[in-house]
């Protein structure tokens, strides 16, 4: 048993994580549901009464309770992984990424899951951290609803279903990601 736990506690390679994601998609389909995580943001808006200001939020949110349960599980999964399954939080990113990130001002790239100076709770009320969390989150919420899907709906489900429009959306994901990473991010880190 201990051997199994030690085995699970290592970082999982892509050929374990990728197939498990496909398995989750299949399980949802088998129980009559579609894989789509960003929809939960819309459901929350609906539950908070946004239907009063826009028809876009007028639907029966009870049909999405399964999806809210799914994301409650997702949060729990993150908690379990962090507290019981990951004794070593270093992430073995490539040496060139470490160098590039040091150059734009990240202090210790790869020594934890994310840069503590930006996302750690000690620095959270700085302008930079709020831009990264609230500002970044805003773009994620706005963009996924505009494109009607995120990585789960478009990149995984859509491409798996050979959807042309999902391919276009994924091209968009990369246009945005590349623009941000290579042109804008250095300025945001310097805030």
């Amino acid at each position: 048993m201990e051997k199994i736990l030690t085995f699970i506690q290592q970082p999982w390679p892509w050929w374990v994580s990728g197939p498990l994601i496909a398995y989750v998609m299949f399980s949802l389909l088998y129980f009559g549901k579609g894989f789509g995580i960003s929809t939960n943001f819309k459901t929350v808006c609906c539950m908070l009464g946004s239907c009063k200001v826009s028809d876009f939020f007028c639907f029966n949110w009870r049909d999405q309770v399964w999806n809210l349960m799914f994301i409650i599980g997702v949060v729990l999964g993150g908690f379990v992984a962090a507290h019981y399954l990951t004794p070593d939080m270093t992430v073995a990113i490539s040496a060139s990424t470490v160098n590039d990130l040091k150059e734009i001002g990240i202090v210790n790239p790869g020594t934890s899951y994310l840069p503590e100076e930006i996302f750690g709770s000690d620095n959270i009320w700085s302008l930079r951290s709020l831009v990264f969390l609230v500002g970044g989150g805003f773009l994620v919420g706005f963009g996924t609803r505009y494109a009607n899907g995120c990585t789960s709906g478009h990149a995984i489900s859509g491409l798996s279903n050979l959807q042309y429009w999902s391919l276009i959306a994924v091209v968009g994901f990369f246009i945005g990601g590349l623009l941000m990473t290579h042109l804008i991010l250095p300025y945001l880190i310097a805030l």
Binding site: W12, V16, S17, G18, L20, I21, A22, V24, M25, F26, L28, F31, K33, F41, C45, W66, I71, G73, V74, V75, L76, G77, G78, V80, A81, V91, I93, S94, T97, D100, L101, S121, L133, V134, G135, G136, G137, V140, G141, F142, G143, T144, Y146, A147, N148, C150, T151, S152, G153, S157, L159, S160, W165, F174, I175, G176, G177, M180, I184, L185
Partner: protein, 137 residues
């Protein structure tokens, strides 16, 4: 608790993306700098298996747990919607280092600061809803 099974799937999904380091800001940076195969392996293998799975579902007319034929939803057409919306999401993805799934996972993994990102995402979704009719699709 008829939705308990979805919570269990969520737990599996959360653990998988945590242990696969897909929730790591550094892994997303590495992906957008094309400096490792890791993220492409994750998404690529999920999509290849997904294509095989969906082809299998369609060709065998597989039924779901309730005995209905499994239907896979199609996506909304439109260059403006998918390209502009996708680009805006991509900008956010590279800042937070997390798409919506990982944003929720990070609340459990890293703690409350990521509730601020969820709050931002809900505000972004709300703003889209306000301007939906004025935006090109």
């Amino acid at each position: 608790m008829k939705h308990l099974r979805f919570m269990i799937m969520g737990i599996l999904f959360g653990i998988t993306l945590s242990k696969g380091e897909i929730i790591s800001w550094y892994r997303i940076q590495e992906m957008f700098r094309f400096q490792s195969f890791h993220m492409y392996g994750v998404i690529g293998s999920a999509v290849v298996l997904g294509i095989l799975t969906i082809q299998f579902i369609k060709r065998t007319k597989l039924k779901d747990a309730q005995g209905n034929y499994i239907s896979v939803s199609t996506q909304e057409p439109g260059y403006a919607r998918n390209l502009i919306g996708g680009t805006i999401f991509g900008l956010g993805w590279a800042i937070t280092g997390a798409c919506p799934g990982p944003l929720f996972i990070l609340v459990g993994h890293q703690g409350w600061p990521f509730l601020l990102a969820i709050l931002g995402a809900v505000a972004g979704t709300f703003t889209y809803g306000l301007f939906e009719r004025k935006l090109p699709h």
